[in-house]
Symmetry: C4
Subunit: 237 residues, 4 copies
């Protein structure tokens, strides 16, 4: 769906190079929103973690919805390798588009962490020492990713607005209903290892999160195929 919005766009502005740049830009702003709002929230909340997470989760969800609305028409606004991969598997997005999209997402995410740090006068990068480990958190990532893909792929309509709002609302909620605070995105996970602030993740814990996200993505692909009763096709009945 997001795919279709982008794909219906044969103008020069929608060349693969330009779409990849937009993916990178969107993902950079996403990380700036996640990491930046986490820094501000901790600075102001004086140790009240519930209040810090409330601000962080609302800012992330609202920012994400706005970014999807802004960039959806250019590139589909995946900003997430799990989404790009699922589009290739389920909707026939050309596989040759996956590497540039995913590269742009990862590079954009890393740049977004630096943007957030620069906005708050921190060193551009710093390795996180925040432990995020254990089976419950890895299971949380599987659940969060599965749910995110369901929201993105099943709430598809001609207009991007309801999808954008659904994704923003889902992520704000999933910050709270998972013990991992719902990264649900491999590019976000990698980049957040480079910030030693509220939203960071210890590099050693990244593989577990990625594994959980892979399980969630696989489970969603199986569900989507079963629901559509077909293979390699649009999951919408």
């Amino acid at each position: 769906m997001l795919h279709e919005v982008g794909a219906s766009n044969g103008a020069p502005g929608a060349s693969l190079a330009r779409r990849s740049v937009v993916e990178g830009l969107g993902t950079a702003f996403l990380l700036a929103a996640v990491v930046g709002s986490g820094i501000m929230a901790v600075r102001l909340s004086g140790g009240n973690t519930a209040l810090a997470l409330l601000a962080n989760s609302l800012a992330t969800g609202a920012g994400l919805a706005a970014l999807i609305l802004a960039f959806g028409a250019f590139s589909g606004a995946h900003m997430n390798p799990a989404v790009t991969l699922s589009e290739a598997i389920l909707r026939g997005r050309p596989w040759r588009e996956v590497p540039p999209y995913v590269s742009a997402q990862v590079l954009g995410a890393v740049a977004g962490v630096a943007m957030a740090h620069a906005m708050f006068g921190e060193p551009l990068f710093s390795l996180s020492v925040r432990s995020r480990t254990g089976l419950p958190q890895i299971f949380s990532e599987a659940v969060a990713t599965f749910g995110l893909l369901a929201v993105i792929f099943f709430s598809a309509r001609r207009d991007v607005a309801p999808v954008a709002m659904a994704v923003g609302a889902y992520i704000s909620a999933a910050y709270w209903f998972t013990s991992s605070t719902s990264f649900a995105n491999p590019a976000v996970t990698l980049a957040r290892s480079l910030t030693d602030t509220f939203t960071g993740i210890r590099p050693a814990d990244v593989p577990g999160f990625l594994a959980g996200q892979a399980v969630g993505t696989s489970a969603f692909v199986l569900l989507a195929r079963w629901l559509s009763g077909r293979k390699n096709d649009d999951p919408h009945p």
Copy 2:
């Protein structure tokens, strides 16, 4: 309306079995959102119940809106036996669909509690000892259910998006304006007796809540028929 969205869907993906599975899946995520965000909120809020309920109510409403947008096109996304029953009475949904829908909702709700517990490293089930009793709370359930059905059935339009947002907004609000925090859903009520956390309900108090919900549903059905000036028909004028 939600019904129509689903019913207009004669593809294999919309078979009764598949729609029931989607109902179960949606209700599981709903309970994961309710129970999981309650656990997270209590863990972080350090005894500040207002802050815990704020996070819990926002996460529930936002998650619910996203789930309706995601699953509405497949099954109608009732996720609530009171909604399924009202559809059968007011809109001619076939009665033979009610048992599989309601079963899927109850099983999904129970599974969702286990999902939440697993995500937070808790035992899969634990009986609640949280007292929720007294006439004011039972009356609250009647009011909350009546209002929820009015929002669902009267805000019906061709597109599911406004309904999803209205239902999410309503539930976030009703957490605060009822003394029962607005369960308004028999499947949710049963399942929440199986969690000894913030959002639990003592099994002994379940019948009172179900009675309140039954009163609210009956009152709404009478109103809808009176407003439509007909019987056994679509309540929209």
Copy 3:
């Protein structure tokens, strides 16, 4: 606009009597949301007034948006005499409809206060002793009412959904940006004198609030006419 939605509705369900009942029902739920969420917020927030007002303002705005979506198609969902009056002046709503609408709104509002009290185990009515007085608060009511009418009348479109969301968002905001917490509604003002809780207003202070609302309504009517360059007609250019 809301008017047109209702007026295009010539079915028996849209008779003046039924529409008035729906106005009363909607206004009752609005007051239940305002007063009920105020009671819950104060009970849980342990003296933290900012947190109490945050919950109260979000619950009111979200509930209001849901109610407009639910009841807009039946009666226009004014739930506010200032809106009904402005419709008669600016859009030719028949003057004979004003008395039943306004009566239903006031009666519904009073019933809603009783509903909220019953849900929280309080006496059905209690005179407020909360002082809300002084020129800044009266000026606040003028500003709040002017802005509310601008949002309702100018954001009119064929679909009720954007209007509902705009009104809910506006009221949540206006709780904070006015010193009166933005009653902006004569029926709400009268009814809130009957609750000795967080959202109450001392009966002696009601006339000042009504005066401010009258000034705001008059100023908006003048603006709408000037913008339309006509008199007694739809203000939309």
Copy 4:
């Protein structure tokens, strides 16, 4: 887009003079919302700055969305010289419209500060002594303005509703993810030097903020042209 909504409006109500008045009125309400909710938040939050900023950011975002929905059809609801300027550069809005729009925005912003102060019983104007300085905050303003323009110009559609919600969501988020709390608006910046309250800015720090906003606007104009592959034309592919 917002431009087109207004421009498609050839009725007398859309004369340049009337549109400028509406711009001024909208900007006045925007400043009333920003400054007023900041005053209320500080008064109630008892030194909890995170809670104060949460209320301030939610009220501003919600109010802004409502104002765009209300006034968008009349004037485009820029309420921001950076938006008006970008429209002239990128979409061919006549340059002769820029001075009256920008004048109205600045005058409206100043009047809005006085409105807020009057609603809270403060002197109509007071010079801010709040320091907002340093490269991180100036860089924040560049990022915030760039992102705001991307949200406004790229999320354009026939209907104003998604744009309004995207802008409101973006600003609520950007309050948190920038160290400057995202003024992103020269008229707002000038006017906020006239309030010695939570949302004020020391006059001496205004030029730095304006410089950051100019950098962000320039960068966005370059991006939009590159994405459209044309010059002086609609950036939408």
